[in-house]
């Protein structure tokens, strides 16, 4: 059964504080589910738990995480690593955190493709080039030869996505994938996520960006203090927000549509 399923998932921090209090959700292939909510409501905890790696000192204290019929919460780290990339992909908010700062991007991409896909060195290089171009990074050779620090945040985020385009994981989890990007890169990342979705990946996206939630997600869930308190399509949430935070969120999202900049090139 192809589905990523959290069932009454509870996560507890080291001091005993409950970070997630029984969250249930399902992501099917070709479907995008959004998660939003105020800072500290448990969004990142939810993603980490779904990756099978609850944060430092945190543990899954109840419920289950199921990936295509396999329970993840009890897996040993080694078994979990085998899922990374090919079954589950991750897009962080700050792409820098996904790379080793000391090593050229090309070497890192090749190593990932060789290890996960069993490719030869030459085939891994070719795939890296192809996927960088697909991620709208035409100067692939420059990207491959650079260390992560020499690339802008937007270029690195597209590189992260290029890696996922190569690995084609069934499910992609993204933590605020556009929040640190400028408008052009943001648009590029949204389009790439849409491509992944139409290539039937299942997406679970944490975001505060109303446009991202609306364009990408079939359903949006609102977290508050570790619990799911509202859900619906973004249009439904905007039209009938129920709780305080969601109401304010809807108000700013609607305001955002009231106009835009009319640009003129010099």
């Amino acid at each position: 059964m192809a589905i990523l399923k959290l069932d009454r998932l509870a996560v507890t921090a080291a001091g005993g504080r409950m970070l997630l209090r029984g969250v249930s959700l399902q992501v099917r292939l070709g479907e995008a589910v959004g998660v939003t909510g105020e800072s500290g409501s448990g969004k990142t905890t939810l993603l980490k738990a779904a990756m099978g790696v609850p944060g430092k000192g945190c543990s899954v204290s109840g419920g289950s995480i199921e990936l295509d019929g396999r329970r993840l919460e009890g897996l040993a780290p080694g078994e979990r690593r085998l899922l990374a990339g090919t079954s589950l992909g991750f897009i962080p908010q700050l792409p820098m955190t996904a790379f080793d700062a000391r090593i050229e991007v090309g070497r890192q991409m090749r190593a990932i493709f060789r290890k996960r896909l069993g490719l030869s060195r030459a085939a891994a290089s070719e795939l890296a080039r192809e996927k960088l171009r697909q991620a709208n990074l035409p100067d692939a050779d420059r990207v491959l030869a650079s260390r992560p620090g020499a690339l802008s945040g937007g270029m690195l985020q597209r590189t992260t996505i290029a890696i996922l385009l190569g690995l084609q994981p069934s499910y992609v989890l993204a933590d605020e994938p556009t929040s640190a990007l400028d408008p052009d890169n943001r648009e590029a990342v949204v389009r790439l996520l849409l491509q992944m979705k139409s290539a039937s990946a299942g997406l679970l996206i944490v975001s505060h960006d109303p446009e991202v939630l609306e364009r990408l997600c079939d359903r949006v869930l609102v977290l508050h203090d570790g619990e799911l308190v509202e859900q619906g399509s973004m249009a439904e949430l905007l039209a009938r927000p129920r709780r305080g935070w969601t109401r304010r969120f809807a108000a700013t999202a609607l305001q955002q549509r009231e106009g835009e900049w009319a640009w003129e090139r010099w």
Binding site: G153, G154, S179, P210, Q256, R257, E260, A262, E264, R265
Partner: protein, 249 residues
């Protein structure tokens, strides 16, 4: 107040190049940037990371000197002034940066941090300073209790708002805001935007908002400039969407 203005004339700045571009080369951060910032007007400057936005902020605030060009405030070339000579203008032109720890001393209480600006830049008495600070906290709905704790024990969002209030407390005419909204969630971001709009209405401060966020720029600014690889390449004015368009998008 009158009709003051800040004129940015052909501003250029470069830094010693990094390894990637070869030894001895220079990285051009700003290239002949020209614009006018009139008193009362709020401008957004958008651009990708590395486009020179923060360099522009630092030059406007006199924290660095340009290689060429000038920043003129009502005719005075600020870029040619020494640090000492800049002091009288510091009250008029303030800045807030993404990283509040650059302005706030993390070990000192919020109150001491707030008071320092007023002590250095105004001739207010101790009692007036207290009244001003507590008034600002109230006006911007921040709990007065926060003033007593060391800045480092406050959240990032609280530190950001405190740095903003500190800059506003001296009633600047021009305020440069460098990525002060990044990392805040939509609702906190909106709280800061409202604070700024509210303050602008009351005191007529002009903002230069450096941001990635087209939404924040739209809410905050009268017009928008685009910085690409150190050059201003486009400008924008506001265009309202009709209701029909708003529904279909």
């Amino acid at each position: 107040m009158g009709m003051g203005e800040m004129v940015v004339e052909n501003l250029s700045k470069s830094y010693p190049g990094s390894g990637a571009s070869g030894r001895g080369s220079r990285l051009r951060a700003l290239d002949r940037v020209i614009f006018r910032w009139r008193e009362g007007e709020s401008i957004a400057v958008m651009g990708a990371s590395g486009s020179g936005k923060s360099t522009l902020a630092r030059l406007l605030l006199g924290l660095e000197r340009p290689d060429a060009g000038a920043v003129r405030l009502d005719g005075t070339n600020l870029s040619a002034l020494s640090v000492q000579a800049w002091r009288p203008y510091r009250r008029k032109v303030q800045g807030v940066f993404q990283d509040a720890s650059g302005t706030l001393n993390p070990r000192m209480s919020a109150y001491v941090n707030m008071e320092e600006a007023l002590r250095n830049l105004t001739d207010m008495t101790r009692r007036e300073r207290r009244r001003e600070i507590e008034g600002l906290m109230e006006r911007f709905r921040m709990e007065r209790e926060l003033l007593k704790v060391p800045v480092r024990s406050l959240s990032g969002g609280q530190q950001r708002r405190l740095a903003l209030l500190r800059a506003l407390s001296v009633k600047p005419s021009y305020l440069v805001l460098d990525e002060v909204l990044s990392g805040l969630d939509r609702v906190s971001c909106d709280a800061v935007l409202e604070t700024l709009a509210d303050y602008r209405e009351g005191y007529g401060c002009s903002y230069l908002l450096i941001t990635h966020d087209a939404y924040a720029a739209y809410r905050m600014a009268d017009r928008c400039l685009l910085l690409e690889e150190g050059r201003l390449t486009a400008s924008a004015v506001k265009e309202r969407r009709t209701d029909r368009q708003a529904i279909s998008t």
